[in-house]
Amino acid sequence: MKMKYDVVVLGGGAAGMGAVNAAKEQGASVLLIEREASTGGVLNQCIHTGFGLQVFKIELTGPEYHEMYIEKTGKFDALYETMVLDVDLKNGKLIAMNAHGNHEIEYRSLVLATGARERPFEALRIPGTRPSGVFTAGLAQKFVNLENHLPGHKAVIVGSGDIGMIMARRLKLEGVEVEGVYEIMPYPGGLTRNIAQCLNDYDIPLHLSTSVIKVYGKRRLEGVTVVEFENGMPLSGTERFIECDTLVASVGLIPENDLVKGKIEMGRDEGIIVDDLMRTNWDNVFAAGNNVCIHDLVDFATVEGEMAGRNAAKVALGETLPVREGMFSAKDGIRVLSAKYTTASEPFTLYIRVEKPMGIATVNLDGKAIKGVVNARPSEMIELNLDPKKYNLKGKIEISAKEVKR
């Protein structure tokens, strides 16, 4: 089938729903393409609370956030259980496939909201066998929360990302013995509040500077060896064997951008590079959410999606958006910047991550402190409100962070 829309949104998770909603509000015709059978993305399996404080001003679970946002959006055109096979950015066309066949879809603007995938355990290059019983945290979450399967009886969690800690609690509540959470870095990978409410509440130990170095088991996992690390090297003599039938890996997310790889400007972390309007290096292609950079609050992904959808609709309806004026670069102490360019036209929020934990830190713009942060941690994104009337956001802009007190 051939179709034509002002705005096509790829991916119906937190960011994609925002894009559909905002593009619709601008009066554009919108099509959502989603590979699952419904919208919501990972929200459907995130049955815990912690969502919605920014967007709805109340605390919600993932499924509630999803349903309430869809109700707010109203009806829209969507193709579900549909995969996009190829995008022709030059001619504004894409090929999608589902059970009804191939579809050629023309767009005036495109919003990429394809989210992220989990870094698999295999990416850690840990020696040993490859038995069943090794899961990524999100997969274990899908089994337990949506499909009514328990992954095993005794679990070890490797990596202290938020989903890993949330799954430690979830498995414990479902009667699985959770031996502990092992984190190779000297500081946790997830939010401090999750250490409190997911681990401390249930006496699940968190072992920092410790990780899995070997996997045992023929058909099913029989155990792992963990060891302590010092300066990134395993400490001989600290090895410990743990009997377990389940290993849950929460070792990070990778922006999922295979569809546009090599066609669009991307960073070293495989995130799509955008400006403050969520625009890519193509004037009519926008991106938002975890395929731009990994967020720790779903609300931020939606807010970005709304911005992307709004601007995509404006371009589709003939408006010319401001050009890029400034370019950010991450300097000392900064690991992640959510945008690389700015049009310096409107105030906007840049999301940043620091490189390592700092007691009291200043975030600096061209060497000048513009924000103070207490307990800055790589796992907790910092919002930096940048107003072009207040700061010079033209030309090269250096963002750095410095610890002023431990």
């Binding site: 459907n44 049955i47 815990h48 609370t49 912690g50 404080l53 605390e59 919600l60 679970t61 993932g62 499924p63 509630e64 999803h66 349903e67 337990v144 929360n145 949506l146 499909e147 009514n148 509540l173 479902e174 939010l191 401090t192 509040r193 250490i195 409190a196 409410q197 509440d201 720790d296 609050l297 207490v374 307990n375 907790e380």
Partner: protein, 122 residues
């Protein structure tokens, strides 16, 4: 007097708080919270900690096998494992609407277990 460190878990802001207790371990004051919920949390935490519990309940005749649920208020932390027993042993017939009460007055706490999503009939 004693000062303890506490992370507020009420929302994802995760305020780092310092809670002052008297010699009997009773709440005196709190610093570092950015809203009144932080104070209420700190006060509960040193007397009888409370939590919202989220889980899932079996659905009979639905398009999904499970419906996600939450307690519609906080329950004492010490009751969580008993609450899970009630949640695990209950089931609900499809269709389920968001907000439907799946368990009323959980363990006499006055708190209900409610569905957090819609599950249509199969």
């Amino acid at each position: 007097m004693k000062i303890i460190d506490m992370v507020c878990i009420v929302c994802p802001m995760g305020c780092q708080m310092k809670v002052t207790l008297d010699d009997d371990g009773k709440f005196v004051s709190v610093k570092g919270n950015r809203c009144p919920k932080g104070e209420a949390y700190a006060r509960d935490e040193v007397t009888d900690p409370k939590r919202v519990v989220t889980s899932s309940v079996k659905v009979v005749g639905g398009k999904m096998q499970l419906v996600s649920v939450k307690t519609d208020g906080t329950i004492p932390k010490r009751l969580i494992l008993d609450a899970m027993k009630s949640i695990k042993s209950s089931s609900v017939d499809a269709p389920v609407k968001r907000g439907d009460k799946v368990i009323k007055d959980l363990l006499n706490t006055g708190v209900n277990v409610v569905a957090t999503r819609t599950v249509d009939k199969n």
